[in-house]
Amino acid sequence: MNRNDSKNDDIRTIFDEEAKDMEFTSQMMESVLNKTTRSGKGKIRRILNYELQIPLIPAAVAVAALFAVTILPEGVLEKQYRLTSIDIAGSQVMVQEDKEVTRK
């Protein structure tokens, strides 16, 4: 479809001329913004859609720390094994005295 013959140019010229005064003014823009982004609904939507950007490594460290504090049994990280060595007939036997894992 060719738009470039003289009659088509005439049609385009007429359209351009008729629409040349049409301007979407700043007043109209403000009116739209008041009905949309600045309205209560718009503000709620902005909050709901807000994207949180959390850096991965600090977040992973924080989760691990939280895990250690809340999930692991008390004292499990500080667990120290007391080993005792006993000589029995010339052989050394290592005896470990372990603590209970579960909380009472």
């Binding site: 010229t13 008729e18 823009m29 739209v32």
Partner: protein, 179 residues
């Protein structure tokens, strides 16, 4: 700002994104609606309502068409609603899907004034397509996608509109002579 950034901004309700969109499309959209409706006040209403609807429905925008096409589709539908309220019959029962050479249809040397007069009285169904083709400079395929019509239908309307402008049709195209 790229289109994707604009869409993301619109979805996040960012005012800057809305401003950008309105600055980008506002004037041309208003011109298009004015040419279709031929009423400044109604055209301004339609464009503002279009942007409000973009805000309200942007989350449903799935990117199958461009943002530009989507916005224009809303505006064209709202313009049609306005025209319907004026009791125009926008339905066309008979379409001539032309095998005629549309390039050669408008060859009469019409005076510009006469052409202007005929454009002013042209039925909205044809004017809409002519505006999108000549003023918006959209392709047949783009108009077809925008109006959800077959390309043959768009070609037919364009062809028929041009024939009416050329005075080749005695009836069936102007507001004074409805089909």
């Amino acid at each position: 700002m790229t289109e994707n950034q604009m869409i993301q901004g619109l979805k996040n309700g960012q005012e800057d994104a809305f401003r950008n969109m309105m600055e980008l499309y506002g004037n041309k959209l208003l011109g298009t609606c004015y040419l279709i409706l031929r009423d400044r006040e109604e055209a301004e209403d339609v464009v503002q309502e279009t942007f409000v609807r973009v805000f309200g429905n942007i989350r449903g925008f799935n990117g199958k068409s461009s943002l530009y096409t989507w916005i224009y589709r809303i505006a064209i539908n709202l313009s049609r609603d306005k025209l319907r309220k004026r009791s125009y019959d926008l339905s066309l029962k008979e379409e001539i899907v032309g095998d005629e050479n549309v390039e050669n249809l408008v060859e009469h040397k019409l005076e510009l004034g006469e052409l202007k007069r005929r454009l002013a009285t042209l039925s909205p169904i044809y004017r809409e397509v002519l505006v999108l083709f000549y003023y918006q400079e959209l392709s047949i395929a783009e108009i077809s996608s925008l109006l959800y019509e077959k390309e043959g239908t768009i070609k037919s309307r364009l062809s028929r509109g041009r024939r009416i402008l050329a005075g080749e049709m005695k009836k069936g195209g102007t507001e004074d002579e409805p089909e």
